[in-house]
């Protein structure tokens, strides 16, 4: 449905990040999450797709049409802005029906469609309300209804939950997913929160500094981060540079097994559940000191200080066992590492 082909942009003042040869597709009916830290170029890309920002190189192709010479208002893209950008001088219905009005639909058709949209987002009967009387969550729904009412080829959402109370996030993410499923639209969903991205998206595009770092399904990305940036962005802390030869990775932890890694200095990931507390008799066990232990709800996260001072994290089940004191010496065994490349 949407093809982004090697798109680059640049800013004269470099206030916002530019894009560097961004390349990916969004299939028909597919929900793609654009994930990355702030400043990685996600919003810039949305603006480029919408035609709000000129492209230096590459093409944006929507439904088979090259968008290069098509102005924003004829592109047929739906964009939900980060702080919603609702028109303060129009009612809820006036906002939702705006796109239909621009398409010269008759007032009666408009009314029917606006009501249907408000039903869809759960705001039945809100049509005549003024924007200033709405809560944050209601505004988000109006913005969504407004973007949907114009029947866009693709729906783009810029941090749709960014401006909202974290307490309602769970339900809002679920509601959004339901709306995506009902409308069957192609969706490009921008967020910096990986949990949110994994929940709504069929595929995830991870961006870093204006470039696409990784594209894949959530489970695949989680299982194979393949780069130190992605691993760190997913919340993994045990990312190291290790000396690799003969299928083993050497570092301050001694050595451990690592699969299919070329020899030499390589980035590796040690998952916290691959680190185990053991007796000191176990062959390959190393002695470390406890830096701190943190309660994480369903497990305990222990940070351990390796010889040489670097830290390694491990998880353990919550048992009756006493908590570890700071500075206490324990022994660990590392079951294996993964190659990040």
């Amino acid at each position: 449905m949407l093809r982004i082909e090697s798109v680059s942009t640049s800013y004269p003042g470099a206030l916002r990040p530019s894009l560097n040869r961004v390349d990916f597709n969004v299939g028909a009916g597919e929900v793609v999450a654009l994930l990355g830290p702030s400043g990685s170029g996600k919003t810039t890309l949305l603006q480029a797709i919408a035609g709000l920002l000129p492209i230096d190189h590459g093409r944006v192709v929507l439904a088979g049409r090259d968008m290069q010479s098509i102005p924003t208002h004829r592109r047929g893209v739906g964009l939900m802005f980060q702080d919603f950008a609702l028109f303060p001088h129009r009612t809820v219905a006036g906002n939702v029906g705006f796109g239909l009005e621009m398409a010269h639909e008759s007032p009666t058709d408009r009314e029917v469609k606006v009501d249907a949209m408000l039903d869809l987002v759960g705001l039945t009967g809100f049509g005549q309300r003024s924007i200033s009387t709405l809560s944050g969550g209601q505004r988000q729904r109006v913005a969504l209804a407004r973007a949907l009412a114009a029947t866009p080829q693709i729906l783009m959402l810029d941090e749709p939950l960014g401006a909202l109370d974290p307490m309602h996030r769970e339900t809002l993410v679920r509601d959004l997913s339901q709306v995506f499923a009902k409308t069957g639209l192609s969706v490009l969903y921008v967020t910096h929160d990986q949990a949110e991205a994994f929940e709504v998206a069929d595929r995830v595009v991870i961006m870093n500094d204006g470039c696409v770092e990784r594209i894949g399904e959530p489970q695949v990305i989680w299982s194979y981060p393949k780069s130190p940036f992605v691993a760190r962005f997913l919340g993994f802390t045990n990312v190291f540079d290790a000396e690799v030869f003969d299928g083993r990775a050497y570092g301050p932890w001694g050595s451990c097994v690592v699969a299919s890694t070329p020899p030499g200095l390589q980035p590796i990931l040690i998952r916290p559940d691959d680190v185990e507390l053991v007796d000191d008799h176990r062959p390959g066990a190393i002695s470390v000191s406890v830096a701190r232990e943190v309660f994480r709800g369903d497990h305990m996260r222990i940070s351990l200080e390796l010889p040489g001072g670097s830290l390694i994290d491990m998880d353990r089940n919550i048992t009756a066992e006493a908590r570890h004191e700071r500075g206490e010496r324990v022994h660990i065994f590392i079951h294996g590492a993964e190659y990040l490349g």
Binding site: P71, A85, F87, F98, M102, R146
Partner: protein
């Protein structure tokens, strides 16, 4: 290719936004001002400072300069003193009729100076209602200046005051400060930016005050403005007038610079609360006494002079409509050649033209300034501040000596008056529109574009509705200012096309009760029109944020 063309077009349009207002100001403001300077400092092609040193060394002009500064400072002090209780009243208390009174506050501010002069004469002049003749007394001038400018202070300081978090004052009280201590140690310092801002505006207004001093001042109360007018219109000493105008420009520029320095140093970040959350109904006996006294003060200061003006217009030349009827006749030997009532039509016509010019030029300028948001006060913004610092008399005088001959010869043109009035009104238009244009969210335009609105539709359906009220508001102000404009018009008005303020001034200068009565009747007309406009304007922006 298309994109390149589009960018060139956008560039050209952006440039036009700058060029049109700048060109207008260059021809109708900079050129006259430069002409004044050259007139004062260049003789027969050479720089010559003799006229300058003559004026500087004359005891008489040093006295004029000193008096100008002194009366402006004293007027500012009196205005602040009278305004702060009223500001507190509006900021902290809820009472019946608050909204209407808040709107009515603006009426004195936009009233033409000659009307204010006439009202105070109706009260304290010869044949005055109070029976005391104070014409020529300094007190009358100070009071009239306060009448004018209290609204400026009340509306700027009151707005900030209403938004101050009362919990800061409450904290001071729990820490052992008396109400008076709390006011001095907490409230006053927090209000300082607004007080300083309004005080400097008031000082500038009084420094360039013209109509009030001309009507109410005695022979010894002569300011630079009055002197410039007399030297030009009575004695034809254009060189001296030019030197005085230069001195005045330097004085105003200095005041503006000091003010902006001060503002930069003093501005503190404050956490503000919406004004309506902080006001309450007066509860204790003390509070009720305060509210009553403050309301009485407003009544005495604003109500009495205006009511007396209306009454005197009916009673001064024998009770009834004698004065009003005389407005329709063309009296032989009168200083104007037409029935006075024709001045109403002239004023309306000139003010309409001036409003249109001020809206177009001021609107383009405001748009250009707002588009450059965030880059601070550049030279373009400074160029637009120039009219604010140029007194009406300087504009009128400059037009007289610059546009009378040479490249821009408008001597015979009736356009001279509306253009001069527009120059006086433009700063107000710019400063009401800039905040509105700035608050116009870029995202709203983008959102409309994404929803299929063409650039024209974006303007028609999003931008225009949002700014429409502001445009109307600034049009209302521009009209009120132009309609009652006196300082510039008095230099340019022709005997066959006088405006209302000019006719009032001429009548006030003539002896006899009927002349005074006609002046007051015309003042009532002028007051009624301006008051109506201001109230309409205030209606329009009831739902809008921002003051002034």
């Amino acid at each position: 290719m298309r994109i390149v063309l589009l960018r060139v077009w956008t560039r050209a349009w952006g440039l036009a936004l700058f060029v049109i207002p700048l060109a207008f100001l260059a021809v109708f403001l900079a050129y006259p001002v430069v002409s004044i300077i050259l007139r004062g400092l260049v003789h027969q092609g050479h720089w010559n400072f003799s006229a300058f040193s003559d004026v500087a060394n004359s005891r008489y002009y040093r006295k004029v300069l000193w008096f100008t500064i002194w009366q402006a400072s004293a007027s500012t002090a009196v205005t602040l003193l009278l305004a702060l209780p009223i500001a507190a009243l509006f900021a902290r208390f809820e009472f019946r009729g608050k909204r209407v009174l808040w709107a009515l506050l603006l009426v004195p501010f936009v009233l033409p100076t000659v009307v204010v002069g006439a009202s105070f004469l109706a009260l304290f002049g010869p044949h005055g209602a109070s029976g005391i003749n104070l014409q020529g007394s300094m007190w009358l001038v100070l009071l009239a200046h306060a009448f004018f400018n209290v609204a400026v202070v009340v509306r700027t300081v009151g707005t900030l005051w209403a938004c101050l978090d009362p919990s800061m004052e409450q904290a001071a009280r729990t820490l052992g400060a008396s109400p008076l201590r709390t006011f001095r140690a907490v409230t006053l310092p927090l209000l300082r930016p607004a007080i300083a801002a309004s005080a400097s505006i008031v000082f500038l207004f009084c420094f360039t005050s013209f109509g009030i001093l001309l009507v109410l001042g005695g022979s010894s109360s002569r300011t630079l403005e009055v002197e410039i007018y007399d030297q030009t219109a009575r004695f034809f000493h254009l060189d001296v007038a030019a030197v005085l105008a230069i001195m005045q420009l330097v004085g105003i520029a200095t005041a503006l610079v000091i003010y902006s320095r001060y503002q930069r140093k003093r501005s503190v970040q404050q956490s503000l609360r919406p004004g309506r959350e902080t006001a309450y109904r007066p509860g204790s006996f003390r509070e009720r006494v305060f509210v009553t006294l403050a309301l009485c003060e407003m009544g005495l200061l604003f109500g009495v002079p205006l009511v007396v003006l209306c009454w005197k217009s009916l009673s001064i030349a024998g009770f009834g409509f004698t004065s009003w009827q005389a407005l329709f006749t063309n009296k032989r030997g009168s200083t104007i050649f037409v029935p006075p009532i024709e001045a109403v039509g002239n004023s309306l016509g000139f003010a309409l033209a001036a409003t249109t010019i001020a809206l177009v030029i001021g609107g383009l300028a405001a748009w250009a300034i707002a588009r450059r948001a965030g880059r601070g006060l550049g030279w373009f913004d400074a160029a637009l501040l120039l009219p604010l610092g140029t007194s009406a008399v300087t504009v009128g005088f400059g037009f007289l000596i610059a546009l009378d001959h040479g490249p821009v010869n408008l001597r015979a043109s009736l356009w001279l008056i509306p253009i001069a009035q527009a120059i006086v009104a433009i700063p107000l238009v710019v400063w009401t529109l800039v905040p509105m244009f700035r608050s116009m969210d870029r995202q709203l335009r983008d959102a409309a574009g994404v929803l299929g609105a063409s650039p024209w539709q974006v303007w028609r359906f999003i931008e225009l509705p949002v700014i429409f009220r502001s445009v109307l508001v600034s049009a209302g102000f521009a009209f009120a200012i132009s309609f009652g404009e006196f300082g510039a018009t008095v230099f340019l008005a022709r005997a066959d096309y006088p405006t209302i303020p000019i006719v009032i001034y001429r009548f006030l200068g003539q002896p006899g009760a009927l002349n005074l009565g006609q002046a007051m009747a015309l003042s009532v007309i002028l007051m009624a029109v301006t008051a109506t406009i201001v109230l309409l304007v205030d209606r329009l922006r009831l739902r809008q944020l921002g003051q002034f």
